[in-house]
Amino acid sequence: MSEDLKILDEVTNSEYKYGFVSNIESDNAPKGLDESTVRFISAKKNEPEWLLEWRLKAFRHWLTMVEPTWPNVHYPQIDFQDIIYYSAPKKKPTLNSLDELDPEIKATFDKLGISLIEQQRLAGVAVDAVIDSVSVKTTFRESLRELGIIFCSFSEAVQDHPDLIKKYLGSVVPATDNFYAALNSAVFSDGSFCYIPQGVRCPMELSTYFRINSAGTGQFERTLIVAEEGAFVSYLEGCTAPMRDENQLHAAVVEIVSHTDATVKYSTVQNWYPGDKNGKGGIYNFVTKRGICLGDRAKISWTQVETGSAITWKYPSVILKGDYSVGEFYSVAVTNNMQQADTGTKMIHIGKKTKSIIISKGISCGKSQNSYRGLVRIGKKAENARNFSQCDSLLIGDKCGAHTFPYIEVGNKTAKVEHEATTSKVGEDQIFYCNQRGISTEDAVNLIVNGYCKEVFNQLPMEFAVEAQKLLAISLEGSVG
């Protein structure tokens, strides 16, 4: 093995050295899943009858479904009766100051450039600063309310805005959509709700961080975003800080509704625990994300940076119903060690002159497997629809794999669909060239990979992009400090 490859091997084989293990004090539902579990959850949340019925319907349908096996991922059979479907708000260990924090975690935070206040929040430090940050959140919430923007937990929305929930819940991802969406619909614990009224441009990036009661969103998260006519919102999910969770299976659902002339930009950074070097442990992330451009000239843009999870199975999609509507998907998916990712998008063109763009950048290192799976469907009535797809794969080392599964279905002759795909390796020539200019191999790999992801990072909100770059460096290097 050449020296460069050895170094690559070292840096890409390091283990995930951070994350939280929290002690859980909870009042849990008993293990297992039947109708009584669904009723238990609904009752705990004090939900209206119609929502319980909706959950039950989803549950009954779920019983008739089988787990999908088509993704290019492999894992042992999940025992759905061995899962706790409800656990009350989790508590993280309370620290008196950041000095008590594990120095390694502190180093990660510093490396990611996370502010002190946020560090304290993430670490669960019980000091005044956290109270300050709560009041900061409240202030944000107040200024949003003045504009008529609703941004709250899903549970709160069910209580305070039942009409909106009733109108939109399941309107994009029906409860019966797929195995995991049905499961989520039956047992979802909490999540976020966001509503932007007509003509309002949300003045700040909406991040789950600013949502009160954001603690303990749980493994079956539900997000619903509605942008009324002419509204604009940029929504951030997740954070670059490492996330560890007791729950191995995560099956979230995200629904986005974009009305006439509205734009919703949804950015995700996902950094769940990927398991150890041998693939033991780690989160299974089976997510259904879909948006619909209901009105003319509506736009939905997904940007994702995926570095975590043992298994990722996720296809943020857009249904382009309105004429001239636009769907975008920008993705960076990094897999390392034994991680497996099967991710991509679906662009369903229904309206006339609809446009979609797909830019997917897969990076595989270690012994990981990284697949792109994408569907572009042009409906019969989608006159002059256009799609451009670019799927690039980058291999680091010689034990990983990259796969591309593009599906293209064109039902209208006037459509224009373009698909470009490339696979490349981080070349020893490139690394040597950097070395010869004084740049170390590790920095060279970062530089090359960042260059490769540039088109996607450019889509992220500024601060998020900077964090994502650092996260990428850490993911590749796999060590802290």
Binding site: S2, E3, D4, G427, D429, Q430, F432, Y433, C434, N435, Q436, R437, G438, I439, S440, T441, D443, L447, I448, N450, G451, Y452, C453, K454, E455
Partner: protein, 252 residues
């Protein structure tokens, strides 16, 4: 500054350098010529530390250090620069960003503070003039979509930015038209300051009309078989290499 003694090296099991000796003092310009396959580019690669090249024997001292023990990046930080015959493309990484990383890495290793963006832009602007480089080129990805001439110009621009102690030019003239050759050579000459040394590897005497060497060496079968002044290059231009090959055969 650079002292190569009895250097032997192979690539893919094939011995290319067979006991090469070379002494370079500060400020000197050495031209290395020789027929195809004589080991010219191998010499450049071994000095820069390319790992496919196996050193089988000999010693190289660079500024008092055992060069062969140093990693490629440490060689670069110590002041060795290789202008590549085939510069590599790095998509998505702007030339400016690449150079800033490199320059600050080198400065760090010398205990100097990193340049901030403003200082760096200022220095870049000055050095760009040396190779008549367009500002747009610094914003483009490293060598991506550059013409042959632009790539070579970019190499010399990088050299100007990194201010090496020893620069090795590996067939920098190949694929250049007359204008580009003049620009590149002017750039190199502007960097001759009496201390900086150069090893210029070339096939053609033409380059040496522009970059006038102090010494010309002929590399053949992995050894330097003849050394002389600029006149030797002219002689080679006129007579080819056969007479040298014959001399070597007789001597052997």
């Amino acid at each position: 500054m650079l002292s190569i003694k009895d250097l032997k090296a192979s690539v893919e099991g094939k011995q290319i350098l067979n006991g090469l000796n070379l002494e370079v003092k500060p400020g000197e310009v050495h031209a290395i010529m020789g027929p195809n396959g004589s080991g010219k580019s191998t010499l450049a690669s071994v000095l820069a530390g390319r790992e496919e090249y196996e050193v089988e024997g000999g010693a190289v001292n660079f500024l008092g250090n055992d060069l062969l023990e140093m990693s490629p990046e440490d060689r670069a930080r110590a002041g060795m620069f290789l202008a590549f015959q085939y510069p590599v493309e790095i998509p998505g990484v702007s030339n400016a960003n690449f150079l800033k990383t490199a320059v600050n890495e080198v400065r760090k290793s010398r205990g100097l503070a990193a340049y901030d963006s403003k200082e760096f832009l200022q220095i870049m602007k000055e050095k760009m003039k040396l190779v008549e480089m367009d500002k747009a080129m610094t914003q483009r990805s490293v060598n991506e979509g550059f013409s042959g001439g632009e790539k070579k110009r970019n190499e010399i621009f990088q050299m100007a930015m990194l201010e090496p102690t020893l620069a090795i030019l590996d067939e920098t003239d190949s694929g250049l038209d007359i204008d580009a050759l003049r620009i590149v050579s002017n750039g190199v000459n502007a960097l001759r300051d009496g201390n900086r040394s150069f090893i210029v590897i070339t096939h053609y005497q033409r380059l040496l009309d522009y970059i006038v060497p102090d010494f010309v060496h002929v590399l053949y079968k992995g050894r330097i078989v003849k050394s002389g002044t600029k006149d030797l290059a002219l002689e080679l231009e006129e007579k080819g290499y056969d007479w040298i090959k014959e001399e070597v055969a007789v001597g052997a």
